[in-house]
Amino acid sequence: MTEQLYYEDVAVGSEITPLVKQPTTRQLVMWAGASGDYNPIHYDKDFAQSRGLSGVIVHGQLVGSFLGQLITGWIGEQGSLRKLSCSYKSMNFPGEALTCRGRVSKKYVEHGEHYVECNLWVENVKGEKTVSGMAIVVLPPRGSPAS
């Protein structure tokens, strides 16, 4: 498991260590089974092509969950994810690497909790942002009883 991240460790502008995912058609089938999302656009190439696409596309929520993985891996066990927003801008295709990235946009203490807000995005191999989003997390401060 990764090291615990503390509130004092991050500053506005700090970058989250990027997470590279390479979804395959097999992974899309696994996601369909796990999530119950059997929209054929994610596994039936003929159907996807009949809808004007070059092939099957990656489920938006799978990519959203990759951003969840980026954040939970970064904040560590004592951090907690309070809000995650994703806007799916354009399609992602299996076989193409996706890089999940984020940057701290704000940090503040409210009601005794230490909040950090981040902008998030997913880039495809062409460097296009296919998903953009934001997260609000709570981090432990150094010297807290849990640390």
Binding site: A34, D37, R82
Partner: protein, 152 residues
Amino acid sequence: MAENQSSIDGVRAKIGEEWEPRVYEIEKGMIQRFVQAIDDPNPLWQDEEYAKKSQYGGIIAPPTFILIIGFEQIQQQVSQSIPYGTVLHGATDLECYQPIRPGEVVTVTTKIANIRQRQGKMGKMVFITFETTYKNQRQELVAKCRQMVIGY
């Protein structure tokens, strides 16, 4: 398109109306399949021994796991009300209040928050926003989610 329009008007008439809540028992296997599908190695989701020593005292589900609970209700509504060929996710806004653990019982209540139509490059497009609340067996709010689905 007349038929499409009437089904969209039917959806519009039901904005804000909560659907019958559905109850889901969270099994460890559901969480495992979810984590394997994402390919997330975090031991907190799967390693019982590790999780036992964590502040949670046992396995918890990743925050985005809740998105799949009761999602089939949204899918059913979408396939009935958007008789178009292509359905995509447009946006997700998730608020998490508590982690979900295996063995918990989650009650899911969904309503349609908004529907709008617009002429897009792919023809007429419809955008439906769903709002879902998730409560545990103690009737505590565990998460809320807004999901926007696009059909064309």
